[in-house]
Amino acid sequence: MTEPRVYVCLDDDQELDKNEVEDFFRHFDDAGRLARRTVLPSEPGDLVGTLDGYDVMLVLVGRTTAARRVVDWELREALSPRADGGPALGVLACTVDRNAELSRTPARLGANVESGYARLYRRPLSAEELWTWVGRAAETRYSGAGLIRNDAKALPADLPITDTWTW
């Protein structure tokens, strides 16, 4: 069985979790197996087809991730059937902070964690642990397709970030 191809969804447009994000990639992407966006889309339609070829989406949840429309758009695209008729991507998420700080979860992700399609983990302690979780997500894209919740409208704009989002 080939290794799942992983697309990483994150909020890379802010400073709060910058160090943690860089640290995450430094620790867990030594083999360059984690892909991430290179161009910021300006509308949901820009993403159609961009996730073809990936098996799993890994959402890195930081302090402002839930506020970002681009995160919602990518999740929406990942949870949609592929153009070639293949299943949606498996989805897992983890806190980018090793203290598991989590003020808010992206709503679309939360709905799928609740349903059992996606799983929300703490930051992994090792690459081995991360790839075990990725493997489970890759299996769920086939075994758990009926659990997908993707009927919410795409987030039209970034949500306001208030000081209740951090402590």
Partner: protein, 565 residues
């Protein structure tokens, strides 16, 4: 005819009312008369020259396992405590399936510093799995003082998810099961719910404890159940979901009292949080922040270096702990730790990483040697002073003393308080004395003795008003948990009474005793000047001596808490 009468004492009733000289008459475990108690009694307690108060109530303890093997809940009663609240910090042993026992014991060991062997030997065959079975077991075995138990989030999450609870957040089905467990526990007599949202606790494998993996929306679901059941409060550590902004909003929305988090004095961000919490309380937030009157000064050793392995967010500590260096040691055995300390590279890193302004200015000056079997003449000396004398680094000296004593050397990390700020908190109804951690970290911490420290240091030496001091240790903590009929000396209230000598009351000197199951160490301090401890009308301690037999323990398992209106 009374069963018992306390005579000629200075009676402080716990409400904050002025003291009076008089008697207290007791019948059937309840107080019948206060002040003027004219009837004869089968048993007299002479309180001439002594202060008679309600028994003290410690709302932050970890006796959840110890209560099974030690119904005296030592050493709390020695210091005048007659009621405790257990199940704090999200941790407890009920409910717990048989398959999860080892995991939960390891979790308690790592998070609260109770030796695994002591838990294993002390809990024996357990005899319970569900929360109701746990309370029933405690009632069958008996307790010397009154115990109230909160249900801990770790316990119900592990019940629902097994060890996965430490790796991920629950899905909807797993949450439904947890919510039903919480509801069931509240209905059979849980004093509330505790959840851990802070950054300090790690469990097996160095993973964050289960409760830390909880979304904000899941917190809200727990609060919804608490709101529907209308009983109990929530104990919670500071964290992303429970913070200075969200607590007032959440208590307003759900009407559930928040009985913590813990705060400190003399440093940010706590000082600002204290001001904000006080303001929120005055605006109606149902919120009682806890603080430790003794400030949690830990006695630590490199045998168990968890204090150095804490991973705190920036700004919550004066000096950054050495997470990367020490965290791997938390999963090691003691011989493995010793072998690590012997490595030159470890020494080099320890010295390098603590030769920084934050450590040199804020940490090292607070650490002194409390126990050094190989060099006892150094006990009581601060590491920075000795390091200067010996021309070594403080880290190197700590390592040397530890290695040559086979890791038995002990060091106290003082947690200094701003006593002006403490006094402000003591006079502010938003704050509650708590955070004693009684039953936890017993080899490192002895804050269970806070009542005698409070009465000796604050009331006698600093002349803090006696009535307010007693109120803060009796009726105020009772109100936090809706304990019915306790915490006040008044007719109809439970006869939980402490009699102390105001001229001599004090915390006795610390001694290291190896009396936990398996011979593990804990710190013993006697309550000096505590003449009598009376529980539900029975004398439990008479000048420190036990006055009951194992089959006549007078404590109750508290199950009936006031409903919120």
């Amino acid at each position: 005819m009374y069963d018992l009468k306390v005579v000629n004492g200075t009676v402080v009733d716990g409400t904050g009312a002025p003291r009076l000289v008089g008697d207290v008459g007791v019948r059937d475990g309840k107080i019948v008369d206060v002040g003027d108690a004219p009837d004869d009694a089968r048993q007299l307690v002479d309180a001439t020259g002594r202060v008679v108060t309600p028994g003290f109530i410690d709302v932050h303890t970890h006796y959840d396992a110890q209560v099974v093997w030690d119904p005296m809940l030592s050493f709390s009663p020695n210091h005048g405590v007659t009621s405790v609240v257990m199940g704090n910090c999200g941790i407890g042993f009920a409910p717990c399936r048989e398959r999860d026992r080892e995991f939960m014991m390891e979790l308690m060991t790592l998070a609260e510093g109770i030796p695994y062997e002591s838990l294993e030997l002390g809990l024996g065959d357990w005899g319970f799995e569900t929360y109701p079975q746990y309370l029933d077991l405690l009632e069958r075995r008996g307790v010397a003082i009154n115990v109230a138990s909160q249900v801990g989030h770790h316990a119900i999450k592990v019940w629902a998810m097994g060890e996965d609870a430490q790796d991920r957040f629950a899905d909807a089905a797993e949450m439904r099961e947890q919510l039903e467990l919480l509801r069931a526990a509240l209905r059979v007599g849980a004093a509330g719910f505790s959840i851990y949202n802070g950054p300090a606790h790690y469990g097996p494998g160095g993973k964050p404890v289960p409760s830390r993996l909880t979304t904000y929306d899941q917190f809200r679901q727990f609060l919804q159940v608490m709101s529907e059941e209308r009983k109990g409060g929530i104990d919670v550590n500071w964290g992303p979901s429970f913070n200075i902004r969200t607590i007032p909003e959440l208590t307003a929305e759900f009407g559930v009292p928040v009985n913590r988090p813990q705060t400190h004095t003399g440093r940010q961000p706590y000082t600002q949080r204290n001001l904000d919490a006080s303001a929120a309380f005055k605006k109606g937030a149902i919120w009682n922040v806890q603080f430790g009157i003794m400030a949690n000064s830990f006695e630590v050793g490199l045998e168990d270096p968890f204090m150095f392995a804490i991973d705190q967010p920036v700004g919550t500590r004066r000096g950054k702990p050495l997470y990367d260096l020490f965290h791997p040691l938390t999963a090691m055995t003691v011989p493995e730790r010793l072998a690590t300390y012997l490595q030159p590279e470890f020494r080099r890193q320890f010295e390098l990483q603590t030769d920084r302004d934050d450590w040199n200015n804020n940490y090292w000056p607070l650490i002194y040697i409390s126990y050094s079997p190989t060099r006892p003449e150094l006990e009581g000396r601060f590491l920075v002073d000795l390091a200067r004398e010996f021309s070594v680094s403080p880290a190197g000296l700590m390592l040397d003393l530890s290695i040559e004593s086979d890791l038995q050397a002990r060091f106290v990390i003082e947690n200094p308080q701003d006593e002006d700020e403490v006094e402000r908190l003591l006079n502010d109804d938003a704050f509650r004395i708590g955070a004693s951690d009684a039953g936890a970290h017993q080899g490192q911490l002895a804050d269970y003795r806070y009542p005698t420290y409070f009465l000796g240091h604050w009331v006698r030496e600093k002349e803090f008003p006696l009535e307010r001091a007693i109120q803060s240790m009796t009726s105020m903590p009772a109100a936090s948990y809706g304990m019915k009929g306790r915490g006040v000396l008044a007719p109809g209230y439970a006869a939980d009474i402490t009699v102390h000598d105001p001229d001599s009351v004090a915390s006795g000197p610390l001694k290291r005793v190896n009396d936990l199951p398996g011979g593990a160490r804990r710190l013993f301090s006697d309550g000096e000047g505590i003449d009598y401890v009376i529980v539900n009308g029975s004398v439990l301690l008479d000048h420190g001596r036990e006055a009951v037999t194992p089959d006549s323990l007078p404590g109750h398992v508290l199950r009936d808490f006031a409903s919120r209106k």
